[in-house]
Symmetry: C2
Amino acid sequence: MSAYLAHSSAHRPAVPQAAIAQTIVARRYDDQAAGLPSNPAIHFEQGAEIYGEGDEATAFYKVVSGVVRICKFLSDGRRQIEAFHVAGDLFGIELGAEHCMSAEAVTDCRVVAYHSRIVSNLPKTDAALSQQLLSYALRNLARAQEHSVLLGRRSAMEKVGAFLLDWIDRSGGRRAVTLAMTRQDIADYLGLTIETVSRTISQMERDGIIDIPSVRQITVKDPKTLEALCA
Amino acid sequence: MSAYLAHSSAHRPAVPQAAIAQTIVARRYDDQAAGLPSNPAIHFEQGAEIYGEGDEATAFYKVVSGVVRICKFLSDGRRQIEAFHVAGDLFGIELGAEHCMSAEAVTDCRVVAYHSRIVSNLPKTDAALSQQLLSYALRNLARAQEHSVLLGRRSAMEKVGAFLLDWIDRSGGRRAVTLAMTRQDIADYLGLTIETVSRTISQMERDGIIDIPSVRQITVKDPKTLEALCA
DNA sequence: CGATTGCTTGATACCTCTCAACCCAGGTGG
DNA sequence: CCACCTGGGTTGAGAGGTATCAAGCAATCG
């Protein structure tokens, strides 16, 4: 597909899901000496539920490959996605006995499960492990805090812009991002509707900030302007 | 001030700030055997900055009395309050070298400071401490996750309702809440404007859901309806 | 080929923001 | 004692951003 045609956003080839997981770069921090047992990876198909809200929290998880969403459903069907986790991220550690959100596979993915006993037995187990778990928890906390700012005080344009920059960063800084999730996922993560997300992305293309070679692939043509949007 | 006069919300006595801190009940979980040193409490005056965004994270803190807000400022002056912390809450633990948000005293308050060295030296120090810190971090994480749902998927009425219920809960379930913070603080916590918060609270009074004996004091007359609002 | 899913676009409604005025309580100082 | 000022809060009118409702396109799948 050749140079960009401003208003032609409706005919783009799709991208096989299987290719998506590869584009995500593993987290930077090291995992050796983590103290976590080397359990076998479990496979979840795209869309599968890893655990649901209210399920007994018998285990927590680490993403090996693919993307996982953490979300909550309101009684009237509204959904809020609290986070997307990629390879290297830990999720599902709970203080209480139950999971207070759901975890679902955005793409086909592999995760390692660890028994929650590890957490309650921390004092008796490896001390390095404690620090490792704390650092994972603090990482997730910092991410959640940034997310609050995004949700509470930013416009649709700023939300989508920050979202794209976040995934550029997670893809190792490459300007071409392959989105693992649907527009609906993005909307529920940003606290918008799917229509607003779609319109905003289209607007960015019209403004010459991004290219959209296919629906799930977005190339940032003008990072400066994009970053300025998210000031 | 006698029975409620529907539209008389503009003449209410003020409440001395000093009285507010007392109304907050300490967290339920125990702190003995925490392993944290028993450092002396530091006093901060109402409005004082405990640390700022970008400050070197030499210490983290625990609230002894009063209320602390964690917030972030955008370049154009918008502010998002990520959390209010009360007696027993830990705040300011960072993974990186800098604080990524600010902490300020909502009321006069006392906090205990702990050297960040404690975190990086975890393996060598008390193992029970590790678990304690992890549990604090997970508590803050769970709170942040709930906050995301509030910010992303709820209307003004639902936000304010959930906010009031939260503080009723923090006050030990008493239906009369004394708010430690200004309307602006509430607005910045809920991702609304001060006018919307004010209007929403007034509306709740007109609806007979709450009473407002003074600006900072709110009594829930109809908890059932209030909870139904936040379904 | 029809059905389905994901996405885009348009028209309109509505909720919240913005801008503005005003009220109240408290403090200060003449 | 009162005039004045300030900070926090409330209320109104209008604007604007996002949601809602609806239609249609593209790609995939059976």
